[in-house]
Subunit: 468 residues, 2 copies
């Protein structure tokens, strides 16, 4: 790419079709933007940086030696293992999956070893027994490095996966089992850490103040990325670049703040759905990562004053152009309840020409390239939605590479933090998952959950008439 | 499985937690069910069977000779080709993907050839140039059967893919190129059919009156399934079985009708989001298929009287337990705007034990199996949602196999048809996608779209202030 100029890879945010100027009667007026107290939200986020649960904002500024350390681990793994498996769920899996898909070959594991030039990678974020069994069909455990990722060190799903794998490794490798595991977890607490210490398992630390959904730029995401051969320094550089661009409290200079303010206004106008629709297969799983970030951060029962608000905007993953043939009918004609975010890629990493060699003149309009067609279809869809007065906005990436993906991740994390501040909620907790966790413990017979079990025994009785 | 008894594989519909009896103040009362004119909706769907765009309902009753014909084709392909590629988008891809994932090994393409016992399969439902290039890295075109699927024979994306592949095949195989292609399309019209006739390409017919999203039980879905070694007769048998179960106008005897009536009531109560959340990786892409079916069928601007209604309920794909760590916080605490559908699997096709061999007693509660854990987590989540008074319902499959997946597909198609009838809309058209298609033609310079191009030239001008 010649000399790398950061400016050439700047993410752009196009919000034309959010504005009333373009979707009259359904859009946002400039005066509505001004009426939002975005300066307070900006200050709130800025002042909390590096404190409490907002240490994620400092991850792009990690010490070089820490990053080099991860890169060294990754080199070792690439040299010594044929398979690399992440055991994790939620934030411990969504980021690694997204990054892998964005940067590496779309059929990475199927490439021949020489071209792949690194271990096969499996990211296991479920406890479906058929899935675990399918994984075990694919790998040779002795030749596999298992990266167990859980911040708390107690996540039931991840610890179950770990126990299954640990037993297999122990049977095959005896005391050497520990060499096939790296635990990414808290520095001081949790069951995984205890086991790691006891069993001499190598650990990587997830810094304090970094929640799962904000952890992709920590060792959680960096080790799997580096193992795949992804340039993690460039990733962090992109994150720092956009972070700097977003250091202004002027919404016209801070794209993440502008984006958040508009979403906040849109929520107020009844848009309870946020569709994330990249026009690139490589960015497909960025949507999944975004869905956790946006959904879990903003979906809150109470605000910071304890008032019941049942806040939140439901995120949806979509893929352009694929979902034009699935969801666009609904987006165009259905309820006015959505904000649609396109992600556009200006330059794909390859070009594929289309040439009509049949005798059908009617297909001559396709004499072009897939590159041009996908770009035109995105613009056509954007236009059709605008014409139907549906709020939509576009994030433009000059190309998909480590730098721009770093920008994208940081952009969304900042937007989320700003939007949470505007909604006056705790963006960084997740109290709503406790009930399900406790019910699981109770039903699994965990000691200490006897009361909960009694509650369940009474309450799980159903009316047989309502099962048909 | 011993003697196959259909009753043992009956799909069950559990709607306890839709009812006010369980989620007081937020649920449905029995009298609300009775107040819906579901008998009319039932009759409307019943009387339209096999007419207009409702011929999908007759697909499970296809002639045995037609099905045998597809099976014979599939046998030939399995014998003669190393790779099988579907070129299609929307309904031409979502069904094949869903079925493949449900029935076959989760890493099917990565299996060694002997265990896979069939060609590698790629289903290509996008026009991303990087994706096409990645596909071409994976296959040897001369050893590949390309199944081009488009009902209209004019879908821009599919025809572009076809042109690219056709040129490659022609260069490599000359006139023999036609032997590597099967076109699944309309019997009488469209560009693909014209080319097929001219180039001597084999065709399979998509019957009249079957729209893309209702076509999985036609040759669209059946050929790819049979090529993968899926028992398509069993699939159709399951569809017929549930169809029969749903032949009553009594909602307590017709699960699809009951489901539709409740969704209709829920929409009326402001639940504009429908989450589809199977607890099985094998059913993950059933959600994608459902999202097109539900979204595109019910998302309509006008009703049958021409009145503007902007109907629709936005479908969301989720996966249990994975999305408990991503979306459940929002579902539990966020807006009361959702109906959540779980799909439960009673018996997985394998068992994976969990055994705690570490010294940590605190993990002993996991001494069990993934099978038990995933089931308990689903019930715990269901309970937590119920406690938070969120509407949720569960479809129970005794096992995932061809028969039960046939039931599931038919169940959702019937539910969709009933719900569309209740909403008094045209369930089977998609007028909202025309604007985007036409804009694409115009921007690609297609003859006949000069006026549209002028319209776009004026209207695509943006305000540079709104791009930051």
């Amino acid at each position: 790419m010649g000399v790398f100029k950061r400016e050439d890879y700047k993410l752009k945010f196009d919000f034309n079709y959010m504005m009333d100027e373009f979707i009259e009667g359904e859009g946002i007026l400039e005066k509505e933007l001004k009426a939002v107290d975005f300066k307070s939200a900006f200050e709130k986020v800025k002042n909390a940086r590096g404190k409490g649960m907002q240490c994620w904002s400092e991850l792009p500024y990690a010490k070089t030696s820490d990053i080099d350390n991860i890169i060294d681990y990754a080199k070792d793994i690439r040299r010594n293992f044929k398979y690399f498996v992440v055991l994790g769920i939620g934030g411990s899996a969504l980021g690694p999956i997204a990054l892998q898909q964005a940067i590496k070959h779309l059929h990475y594991n199927e490439l021949n070893p020489k071209r792949r030039n690194g271990p096969k990678i499996y990211i296991e974020d479920n406890i479906d027994p058929e899935r675990m069994s399918a994984l075990l069909d694919m790998i040779v455990p002795e030749e596999t490095l298992f990266n167990v990722i859980t911040k708390s060190g107690n996540t039931s799903e991840t610890m179950s996966q770990f126990l299954i794998i640990f037993k297999i490794l122990r049977e095959k490798l005896g005391d050497g089992a520990c060499r096939n595991i790296i635990a990414t977890t808290d520095a001081n607490k949790g069951n995984l850490l205890k086991i790691a210490r006891e069993e001499n398992i190598k650990t990587l630390v997830i810094p304090d103040g970094v929640g799962g959904r904000f952890s992709e730029l920590s060792p959680v995401g960096l080790l799997p990325a580096a193992v795949a051969g992804i340039n993690i320094k460039m990733l962090l550089s992109g994150a720092r670049y956009i972070d700097k661009l977003c250091s202004s409290s002027n919404i016209y200079k801070n794209p993440a703040l502008m984006a958040a303010v508009q979403q906040y206004i849109a929520i107020g106008k009844g848009k309870n759905v946020s569709v994330m629709m990249p026009y690139a297969d490589s960015l497909k799983y960025i949507s999944d990562w975004y869905c956790q970030l946006w959904g879990e951060s903003l979906g809150k029962a109470v605000d910071l004053n304890g008032k019941t608000v049942n806040a939140g905007q439901t995120p949806i993953k979509a893929l352009g152009v694929t979902d034009q043939h699935s969801q666009i009918q609904l987006y165009t004609e259905g309820p006015f309840d959505k904000v649609i975010t396109f992600i556009a890629v200006e330059k794909f990493r390859t070009e594929v020409k289309i040439e009509n060699i049949t005798s059908l003149k009617d297909l001559d309009f396709l004499n072009s390239s897939l590159n041009k067609l996908i770009d035109i279809e995105r613009r056509a869809t954007e236009y059709a939605l605008k014409k139907a007065k549906r709020m939509n906005r576009t994030i433009i990436l000059p190309e998909v590479n480590e730098f721009t993906v770093g920008e994208l991740l940081m952009f969304f994390m900042l937007e989320t933090a700003y939007c949470g501040a505007l909604l006056n909620i705790d963006t960084f907790n997740q109290p709503g998952v406790e009930e399900g966790k406790n019910a699981t413990y109770a039903l699994m017979g965990r000691v200490g959950y006897e009361e909960k079990r009694k509650e369940l025994e009474v309450n799980l009785i159903k009316n047989p008439k309502y099962i048909i």
